[in-house]
């Protein structure tokens, strides 16, 4: 599968060129356009039959859809263009055996070797991180496309790293994160507008997004006239 990211970074779409008999699994509603030679199959299962009803339901909790769309190429060079619902960037991550913990709704598409599952990130992290209670765990081998709100960038952490709540797109499972205050004093944290932050520890990669939907909504909401 050849992946080309176009129109970066504000309104990125991904052009996927598939080989004959190759399959890609996408988020429901992600397809923008496609060439001939592609058939679509919608199921709650991963490609190859694993998963099913419960996995579908657990995906709903993580902010994804119950169903998955599998695009199957019946000829060489079939082309599929996909994009996320909100404006923002897409990043291509190649999984090589490890796992990537993806914020609910940031998973866009993945190759057949990637298993999509739901993982729980702990009560306190769920309550205070501004993220979903459940996250999507992508593991296995293959291509993975993630989308963000705004631009996306990655940081390779070795030690400690702090990300503000709502800005995490994904992180490798070799990292652990806890919620903590942004500064020494709680008052300072609150007055500084940062409040609680996510503190990562360990070694691995984090993908962050430049904007977060709740802040955008809060900024926009006050300017809208009531209906």
């Amino acid at each position: 599968m050849n992946i080309e990211l176009m129109c970066r970074p504000a309104s990125t779409v991904a052009r996927l060129t598939l080989s004959d008999r190759e399959t890609v699994t996408c988020e429901v509603g992600a397809m923008i356009a496609m060439s001939d030679g592609l058939s679509v199959e919608t199921t709650s299962r991963s490609r190859g039959g694993s998963g099913g009803f419960l996995k579908g339901v657990s995906r709903i909790f993580s902010g994804e859809s119950y169903f998955l769309n599998h695009f199957h190429a019946s000829r060489e060079g079939a082309e599929l263009i996909i994009g996320p619902a909100l404006m923002g960037d897409i990043v291509h991550h190649t999984l090589m055996g490890g796992s990537l913990i993806v914020q609910g709704s940031s998973w866009l598409a993945s190759g057949p070797g990637v298993e999509i599952d739901t993982t729980f990130q702990g009560i306190s992290n769920a309550l205070f991180s501004g993220e979903s209670v459940f996250w999507v765990r992508c593991s296995g081998r293959g291509d993975l496309l993630l989308n963000s709100f705004g631009a996306i960038y990655n940081i390779d952490v070795d030690g400690e790293y702090v990300v503000d709540t709502g800005h995490i797109v994904a992180y490798e499972d070799t990292l652990s994160f806890t919620m903590s205050k942004a500064s020494e004093s709680l008052l300072g944290s609150l007055l500084g507008g940062e409040g609680l932050v996510c503190r990562f520890k360990g070694r691995g990669r984090i993908y962050c997004q430049s904007h977060n939907p709740p802040s955008f909504g809060a900024a926009l909401g006050s300017k809208l006239s009531p209906r």
């Binding site: 090589m96 055996g97 490890g98 796992s99 913990i101 993982t119 990130q121 081998r141 390779d156 992180y171 499972d173 070799t174 990292l175 652990s176 994160f177 520890k201 360990g202 070694r203 691995g204």
Partner: protein, 374 residues
């Protein structure tokens, strides 16, 4: 010997990391990359750590700070403990002890949190009751009257008031017979009763003493003792200020204080959500039991037969299933657990001294005739 899926962090690798297959040997832990490269961390320098997103990822380090092996595969730690050299076993033992300590700490935190919740659950209701009692005690009786006035316009929503002297006079006569046996401050209130045309078997008293009896009750009661029992029960809600208690529980004292100072808009808005009458006459089970027992004592003191109350309960139970008028159930539905209540009332009756029973000026039969339009 088993193999475990995992990975390697090595600064020399293109991405800094790669997937690897991990094998445990006596001399150390080995990680083999797909490309064929092999890393080995010897037993005697091996350091272990738990971490990662789930807290279950095992990190294996040696002397080289740039190299870390990792895996989340179950069984790996146990195999290092049994297969590797003595130093590695010590590392496993240290880590296992650390993990157990962390687990104990987490468990203790959860237990403390659970204990705090249980204690709060046990302590809060009695404390709340004490607070409500204290708050109601501080509020003047004039507040009850004001609240009753706010709700009084809703009384006529049940139906038109009946002015025929035979019916209205009977209700007033029963009320006046009960009045002298109430505490002086309640007896001094402007107690008034209105008969309302409605098939419902119901009666209610608003805070401050304004009462209403629905004509269904007069039609279905066997004698005046039954009617007096219901009146006495309702008067006890007024006496114990149950309406205001219900309000304090749902609205808070501040909202009531605003009524005292004349600004009733807040409380009216609040009550409008559920209906003023519904809020003021929605009593808890405890309040109902109190009204039963004090009410039956009141009927006896006023010279009515105290057996009228349990008899009325039985009557309601009896007529309700065959009755086509479902409203007949309404008085019962807001007054739960009949059998227990009847038993409690009947247990009290023998200890009561019945007062003088003077002949009545109005009769139930005449009132019924008036209600039938005769």
């Amino acid at each position: 010997m088993s193999t475990y899926l995992g990975g390697v962090f090595d600064d020399a690798l293109p991405e800094g990391r790669a997937a690897a297959t991990i094998t445990v040997w006596r001399h150390g832990v080995e990680a083999r990359l797909e490309a064929g490269k092999v890393y080995t961390i010897r037993s005697e320098v091996l350091r272990l750590e738990r971490g990662g997103s789930t807290g279950r990822m095992l990190f294996i380090r040696g002397q080289d700070p740039r190299l870390t092996l990792f895996s989340e595969a179950p069984g790996l730690l146990e195999e290092i403990g049994t297969t590797s050299g003595l130093e590695a076993r010590n590392a496993v033992a240290t880590l296992t002890a650390e993990v157990a300590k962390t687990r104990r700490a987490t468990l203790s935190l959860w237990l403390i949190a659970a204990a705090v919740l249980v204690v709060l659950g046990l302590v809060t209701p009695p404390l709340f009751r004490v607070a409500v009692d204290g708050a109601v005690g501080q509020l003047p009786l004039s507040l009850d009257v004001k609240l009753g006035d706010l709700a009084s316009s809703e009384i006529t929503s049940f139906g038109p008031a009946i002015t025929d002297e035979r019916a209205a006079g009977l209700a007033t006569e029963i009320l006046e017979r009960l009045r002298p046996h109430l505490p002086p401050d309640i007896a001094a209130l402007d107690l008034k009763i209105t008969v309302i045309e409605s098939a419902e078997v119901n009666a209610f008293a608003l805070p401050g003493g304004r009462m209403a009896v629905l004509s269904g009750l007069l039609k279905r009661a066997d004698d005046v003792n039954m009617v007096a029992a219901v009146f006495a029960h309702e008067l006890m809600h007024v006496r114990h200020r149950h309406g205001i208690r219900a309000l304090v529980q749902s609205a808070g004292v501040l909202a009531l204080v605003s009524v005292v100072f004349g600004d009733a808009t807040g409380i009216v808005a609040l009550l409008a959500q559920g209906g003023v009458l519904a809020t003021l006459t929605h009593y808890g089970r405890e309040h109902e039991s109190q009204a039963d027992l004090d009410g039956v004592a009141l009927t006896a003191a006023a010279g009515f037969d105290p057996a009228g109350m349990p008899a009325f309960f039985r009557k309601l139970k009896e007529i309700a299933p065959s009755s086509e008028v479902q409203e007949a159930l309404s008085w019962m539905s807001s007054h739960p657990s009949h059998e227990e209540r009847i038993a409690a009332i009947e247990a009290l009756i023998p200890s009561l001294t019945r007062g003088e029973d003077p002949p009545m000026n109005h009769t139930l039969e005449a009132a019924r005739a008036a209600l039938r339009g005769e």
